[in-house]
């Protein structure tokens, strides 16, 4: 059964434990220019998750703070994966959408395809890769919750079977009028593994709410057309790479490795 994480934004105290856990588990470098908690957070190749602080007004108009954890949503039908001809992005049966560095050809179609602008490029590296949250796929495979989920002292997260979490989320929203009647991730881009509850309308918290409810892979063609500069400039090389990659996939398949397609 596909796993998911239910995030209750009303419980977050902004301690940043989840962002530290992500750094520890994934051995990510710290980026002093881009903090992981506060007003100036930024997702990038080192920060796979961040907790942003938002000064908003609650239903009564009283100014309040809300903290929002951001990371890859792990779409049920990920545009990043369908954009990637090299199969570097793959949706696993447990839920995580994961990235295989050794398959990546660096075309960055995934970055263009993702509706939430999640995959980030290691711009300053000589041999750059695309990076993003892996939902701690190796932990999930062992039955453990993602690192960030396991450390939260405030009870923000619930990890489990996505469909069960969705049911639970619905009953929470129905019972407690404090929440807005919207479970972010239920329908966005056809549904995501990460589901969010909030008492403040999601668009005020920086969520991209104007995305389609249809799965994105059906649009991938269009996304591709929007990026002719990549296709033209690197067309030849990429084609070469494509054949090359295909051949290697063949090898990988024979070795029974990583490729599920």
């Amino acid at each position: 059964m596909a796993k998911g994480v239910l995030v209750d934004l009303t419980k977050c105290v902004g301690c940043g434990s989840c962002t530290v856990a992500c750094k520890l588990w994934n051995d990510l470098k710290w980026d002093p220019q881009n903090p992981t908690v506060g007003d100036k957070v930024k997702l990038n190749d080192k920060n796979w998750t961040v907790v942003g602080r938002h000064e908003v007004k609650d239903k009564d108009g009283t100014p309040v703070w809300r903290f929002v954890k951001q990371q890859c949503f792990h779409c049920k039908e990920p545009a990043c994966a369908s954009a990637c001809f090299a199969k570097a992005f793959q949706k696993t049966k447990e839920g995580p959408v994961i990235y295989y560095p050794h398959l990546c050809v660096g075309c960055r179609y995934c970055m263009v395809a993702c509706p939430f602008n999640i995959p980030k490029y290691q711009w300053e590296k000589t041999f750059p890769l695309v990076t993003k949250c892996q939902m701690c796929s190796t932990r999930v495979a062992k039955g453990e919750a993602p690192a960030c989920v396991s450390v939260c002292p405030a009870g923000v997260f619930k990890y489990g079977d996505r469909e069960a979490l969705l049911k639970e989320a619905k009953s929470i929203v129905a019972k407690d009028p404090k929440y807005v009647n919207h479970i972010f991730g239920e329908q966005e881009v056809g549904g995501t593994s990460w589901l969010y509850l909030s008492d403040i309308p999601f668009e005020q918290l920086g969520f991209k709410t104007n995305v389609t409810h249809r799965p994105l892979p059906s649009f991938t063609e269009k996304y591709m057309q929007a990026t002719p500069y990549v296709a033209i400039t690197w067309g030849a090389i990429l084609t070469g790479l494509y054949h090359y990659t295909k051949r290697r996939n063949q090898i990988a398949k024979e070795n029974n490795k990583n490729i599920k397609a």
């Binding site: 105290v13 940043g16 588990w25 560095p101 050794h102 041999f127 932990r139 990890y159 790479l241 090898i251």
Partner: protein, 516 residues
């Protein structure tokens, strides 16, 4: 082996393709660095408690939130290992974290006690460092830089220089401060003695009904405790003594009384205090702590300009190459440097109460208290909540309680709320053991141990009994001179203007969780 060979081959092909591409944009991957076919991530480390199947609930988890604008404490995320010790002390010992309903409002609840800095094993959480500001003031030739030292730093500082816990380094600390270049070194013990006059008078006025405020009276020297009461028990603030803490009293006097006596422009004075406490950094920034400024018509002036913890002073001394082991003892400067043993024991839990009782007896009966009053063992020691009853002729029995560590304060406060508290006067200290184990003291044991606490406490009581000449606040001649020359009498109009304060209802900042 075969695999390895494959990879070698792949890498060569990739290298070739990369050259064809001309720049490092196309298809250069981790494998070029000789890596594996594993998915990204997950090669790091997590503390053992988080390596469990699924998200089981566990006891020690996560860390406390810290506002980037917290005036007292800061955290270096790069050092944090998510051990959960800061949450442990904040929640279990201080009952701050987790004692409010979620969602939070627009404040990260913290009483600034700094106990988390004492528990954090990696020192990821530390005090906000103000040494540079103090150093800059010391270098500024136009500034008259004055410093005061709290009772408890003299039994802590030595530990930073390799001495046994509790070593009494009063004279060496003064010498070190003079060596650093301070123009005057005063003792917060002096204003502790002064507090006894102001707070004792207030208590007597409450008891006689001259002051229409409720009993029991709460002490107000511990800024962490005060903020805790403002957050969680704002309805009980009328019980809080209106006296400022000794730090703020001395701060207000430095820029009025001292400035006047010495003919120095208060604007040219930079006032520093050396404290065992991180909450003092918050306290000195409270907007109302500008009494001297208001008094002299310059409301922008702060009564205390910078607070350094004991640890910061040690760092500052070491950075200047000063080793207190090699210093001969020196004496505090006069005007506000005299102290009684009563002022000194403010640094230990029960000390304020014992000092108050010694003087209350005198203030009421005009006679010296009996010897037993100089050794009030029931309110000494590390028990969380202590009680005593003392007979004072002409008044009757004075019932007092002493509480330290905020978790011990809650049941007492609930009793006060229910009007079931039998006491007249209650001493509250935010940190376990009192100021001697404040959030700014040396990290001599981790987490802080009662052995170290007890050693520091013993050192204070030993100095009170065997080193100090005066043991009662009313014997402090410099305090008496202050009243004669400047304040006139305790609770006078001027005393109120400079030495008393008001409190803020912070109940609106959170929804307190029902706990009892």
């Amino acid at each position: 082996m075969q695999n390895q060979a494959d990879k070698q081959k792949q890498m060569t092909r990739r290298g070739f393709l990369k050259m064809m591409g001309g720049i490092g944009l196309a298809g250069i991957t981790a494998s070029i660095a000789g890596c594996s076919t594993d998915p990204a991530g997950g090669k790091g480390w997590m503390p053992q408690q988080y390596q469990v199947a699924s998200s089981w609930p566990i006891q020690v988890k996560g860390r406390v939130p810290i506002d980037p604008n917290n005036p007292s404490i800061v955290r270096d995320d790069q050092k944090c290992i998510l051990c959960g010790q800061c949450v442990e002390v904040c929640e279990k010992v201080q009952t701050v974290f987790g004692y409010y309903e979620l969602p939070i409002k627009d404040d990260i609840t913290c009483v600034n006690c700094g106990q988390c800095t004492l528990w954090c094993p990696t020192a990821a959480i530390t005090e906000r460092d103000d040494t540079a500001r103090v150093l800059a003031a010391l270098k500024d030739k136009n500034m008259h830089v004055v410093v005061q030292t709290a009772p408890a730093t003299r039994v802590g500082l030595g530990e930073e220089f390799g001495m046994a816990p509790g070593t009494f380094v009063e004279g060496k600390q003064v010498a070190a401060l003079k060596k650093l270049g301070f123009d005057a070194v005063f003792d917060t013990n002096f204003s502790a003695d002064l507090t006894i006059f102001e707070e004792g008078t207030e208590l007597i006025r409450r008891i006689t009904g001259d002051l229409k405020e409720p009993l029991p009276q709460f002490t107000s020297c511990s800024p962490g405790w005060v903020k805790f009461c403002e957050y969680y028990y704002p309805d009980l603030l009328p019980h809080m003594s209106s006296c400022k803490s000794p730090q703020q009293m001395l701060g207000a006097l430095i820029k009025t009384y001292y400035a006047k006596e010495k003919g120095i422009d208060p604007e040219k004075i930079f006032s520093v205090s050396i404290m065992p406490c991180t909450a003092k950094k918050f306290e000195c920034q409270r907007p109302e702590m500008n009494s001297a400024g208001k008094h002299v018509g310059k409301p922008a002036l702060r009564d205390v300009d910078a607070v350094l913890t004991t640890r910061e002073l040690a760092r500052l001394l070491k950075s200047q190459g000063i080793d207190i082991n090699n210093l001969p003892d020196a004496k505090y400067d006069s005007l506000m440097g005299e102290s009684s043993g009563a002022g000194l024991i403010f640094g230990a839990t029960g000390g304020v109460m014992e000092a108050a009782i010694r003087s209350a007896y005198f203030l009421i009966t005009k006679q010296d208290p009996p010897a037993a009053f100089l050794n009030l063992t029931p309110i000494r020691g590390l028990k969380g909540c202590k009680e005593a009853a003392v007979d004072i002729p002409g008044v009757g029995t004075l019932k007092v309680a002493v509480v330290h560590g905020l978790s011990n304060a809650r049941p007492v406060l609930e009793a006060v709320r229910k009007k079931e508290a039998p006491w007249h006067f209650i001493e509250f200290m935010c940190c376990p053991g009192g100021c001697i184990s404040g959030g700014g003291q040396p990290r001599t044991s981790l987490p802080p141990s009662d052995t170290v606490r007890q050693a520091r406490i013993n050192s204070l009581y030993n100095a009170d009994a065997n080193i100090y000449k005066e043991r009662k606040s009313y014997e402090n001649k410099e305090v008496l001179a202050l009243y004669e020359k400047f304040l006139e009498n305790p609770n006078s109009h001027l005393a109120h203007e400079l030495l008393h304060t008001e409190y803020v209802d912070r109940g609106k900042k959170l929804t307190a969780k029902k706990t009892v």
